[in-house]
Symmetry: C2
Subunit: 456 residues, 2 copies
């Protein structure tokens, strides 16, 4: 075996101890909220059968699936004709499994497979890595975590309220100021109906979603090229000039959409969510209605959510919505659900940029015990055992060596306390306690060390 | 897209909510001990470059690696000759990445890559899935978790003491009675030297490891077929009849191995570990010396550990040892380390068989609030928000429906409390509180609900 210069696979990352501590702070915060709201954890395998994954993410998604080579002598039974196939056709002769692309499709598979066991409504959260054979670039990885919570098996709009409440709690706990945009696909459907472009809401949504970036003229021009008539474009005009607060804009749409049953239902759904949010006590200051929000329209059937950070320029850090046909593909129709997904990597970057990770998020070992005098090692070992029994993460420097080296080690590891027991301390039942941050040093009784550390 | 009967890939598993709660109980218990001992978490990617993985696990291991098909048109540039290659040779033309096979090799890669940043001794733990293209069978999966802690960068035998202390703490916390066997590879080396079969310790170990199963005669017969002389076998005889406690057996080996420097060092190492364990306060009642223990001998260079459960017939549930050359393959020589690995799936099976998961390990939502009277829904929502703000995981049944259905749901979900606010309760600021376990029902003031739940 030759020595090799080690590297990680392109688009993947190691998470070393200090990064892990910060990631765990984010994930633990989110999980605690999920649990308080009654969501239970699910984990599905990294490996799924390709027929579970293929065709669920569009053609581009199929290409971005990581496929796993069949194990054993996968090529031995291939005919010469099969060996000559192009890459795409050959893939299915030599690969039956892939790495999961998101958490949603495996969740749908799980629900369909376990429909008889599950008590519906089913609230589950899932925090696991997913894989995409994307071209890696800044902030885009081939292996990354998704962090999702979904309720399936109920159309109750109170689930939407709970999503708003969870967003509020999570970002309050993380101390990140956010704006939440909400829309409802039924409103987009209604708008296309009012404009006389039934069934064209997908085209409408794709164009209108760019309003912020390209402006009204360009949106209308794009729609014209996609077959919207002048009359239809005329009818769309009012929606670009709606203003006022949420109530005022809803009043406008109640009028504008009055000829569309679906559109009116969308308005009512939003009103119900707002009303119940108020009853529950969600502070709606962070909420805005954005009828241009379309995020994965092909998928959502009701509410659509998106969360942006206020203090950092960054794409959305969370998003979700209601869907009606998630498990349909796996033979289980009529399971409506609503979900929210947190972008862990982006939240990490936001907290990093704002320098807002609390020190407790970086808390590791609290005390390093010096190991410099064999004569006192029994006392040192006993103190170590005692500190741990009191729940204090602590270590002894494992080798007898110079104090300087050991202090440097404590410093490099960000361990806040350095404890020494020399012969004099051992004789008096004492410990030298050095605060690594202030440099202060004091003698304390051996039984009072834990107390001293816990106080600080 | 056609509807399909969903299934998981062979050898993989979903972990639903109740299983996850139990798995988390095990993993959280182990992680808490790791952290108290100063180990910090590391995560490495699932995907590694094949050249990181190949050649590290023997020829069988290479075959059991899951290989990932190169993305994009992987076959387009293959020559006709390459397309005709056998499976093994073709693999390396169409695959450059694989799924990690264990946590140890990626850890070694990480250490070698980050040698400049790491403060040695480096104590890390890692709890992640690994993948092996093994034939699935009862208790053997293709995707399973490993749970490892290692210290690298020191030869200090106190690290071995800490492993014994961690084993004691973990299994005490999990309430599992275990026996820990310890050996030292240097003793096996010494025995082969004393027998005049230098460098044959691997053969010796493989044979002697079977002593329990096949007996002394068969072990000696196997060694004879492997080229051990009659004289050598004669010299081995005494080791089969050693008896007494650890001290007595160590005394025997001190005499028996006196001509082997390495063997004597092995005895001394064990003595040091025992002595320091006593000073630290490890209760050594669970420890035995087993010179037949060889577990991955090609790898270990010092201490070897193995843990068996006392009350359930089951293979080892934990094991580890010291190695000297882990990072050598990645160009970083002379990094000694010692590690321990916990078999999460087997520990799960033990706790399940003994029915010893604590109820707190299955604790999910504590209270379900009934939703049967629209007139009181504001009070219900407010109570829900209040309970959550007091840290109590709670839910409201999201749809207005019959109480019977809602109580059945609480029962199926194992939610211990069912809370109802009808018009009478709403008027009096009260809540009907039903204990789902006892069936008891009582009225309590709306502000005292949390207190009542927390008391129980």
């Amino acid at each position: 075996m030759s020595k090799q210069k080690p590297s990680v696979a392109r688009g993947t990352r190691d998470f070393g101890p200090s990064v892990m501590a910060k990631r765990n702070y984010i994930l633990d915060t989110i999980k605690a909220v999920f649990q308080k709201f009654g969501f239970a954890e699910l984990q599905t395998p990294a490996i799924e059968n390709l027929n579970t994954l293929m065709g669920k993410y569009g053609e581009e998604g199929d290409q971005l699936l990581f496929k796993i080579l069949n194990s054993g002598p996968f090529a031995d039974k291939l005919t010469p004709e099969e060996r000559a196939l192009d890459s795409k056709a050959l893939t299915f002769k030599i690969s039956e499994k892939g790495l999961k692309y998101d958490l949603t499709v495996p969740f749908a598979r799980y629900v369909a497979m376990n429909r008889g066991e599950i008590a519906f409504p089913f609230k589950r959260y899932q925090v696991q890595p997913v894989w995409r054979a994307d071209r890696p670039q800044k902030g885009r990885y081939r292996e990354f975590y998704q962090c999702d919570a979904d309720v399936v098996g109920t159309k109750s709009l109170f689930c939407e309220v709970e999503i708003l409440a969870m967003l509020q709690e999570v970002f309050q706990a993380l101390n990140i100021s956010v704006a939440v945009k909400m829309n409802n696909r039924k409103i987009l459907t209604g708008i296309s109906e009012v404009a006389g472009a039934q069934g064209q809401e997908a085209t409408l949504a794709v164009a209108i979603d760019k309003l912020d970036k390209i402006g009204q003229e360009a949106v209308l021009a794009e729609l014209a090229t996609k077959g919207f008539s002048n009359e239809a474009l005329e009818k769309l005009n009012p929606i670009f000039t709606v203003s006022g607060d949420i109530a005022q804009r809803l009043a406008f749409f109640k009028n504008y959409l009055s000829s569309s049953e679906t559109g009116m239902l969308g308005v009512q759904e939003i009103e119900s969510v707002l009303e119940m949010s108020k009853a529950y006590g969600v502070n709606l200051d962070f909420l805005d209605l954005d009828i241009t929000l379309a995020r994965g329209l092909s998928y959502y059937t009701g509410a659509i959510f998106e969360v942006k950070v206020l203090d950092v320029a960054m794409g959305s850090i969370s998003g979700g919505g209601r869907y009606d046909n998630l498990t349909d593909l796996f033979g289980l129709p009529d399971v409506s659900g609503v979900g929210i997904s947190f972008g862990v990597d982006r939240i990490y970057d936001v907290l990093d940029e704002l320098d807002q990770f609390p020190t407790q998020a970086q808390k590791g070992t609290q005390a390093l015990l010096a190991n410099f005098d064999e004569a006192t090692s029994t006392q040192v070992f006993q103190l170590l055992a005692q500190l741990r029994s009191q729940g204090i993460a602590s270590e002894v420097y494992p080798e007898l060596s110079k104090l300087k080296k050991q202090i440097e080690y404590a410093s490099k590891r960000n361990i806040p306390y350095f404890l020494m027991i020399g012969s004099e301390e051992a004789a008096n039942g004492q410990v030298q306690l050095k605060n690594m941050l202030t440099g202060e040093q004091s003698k304390v009784g051996i039984d009072e060390v834990a107390q001293n550390l816990l106080l600080n």
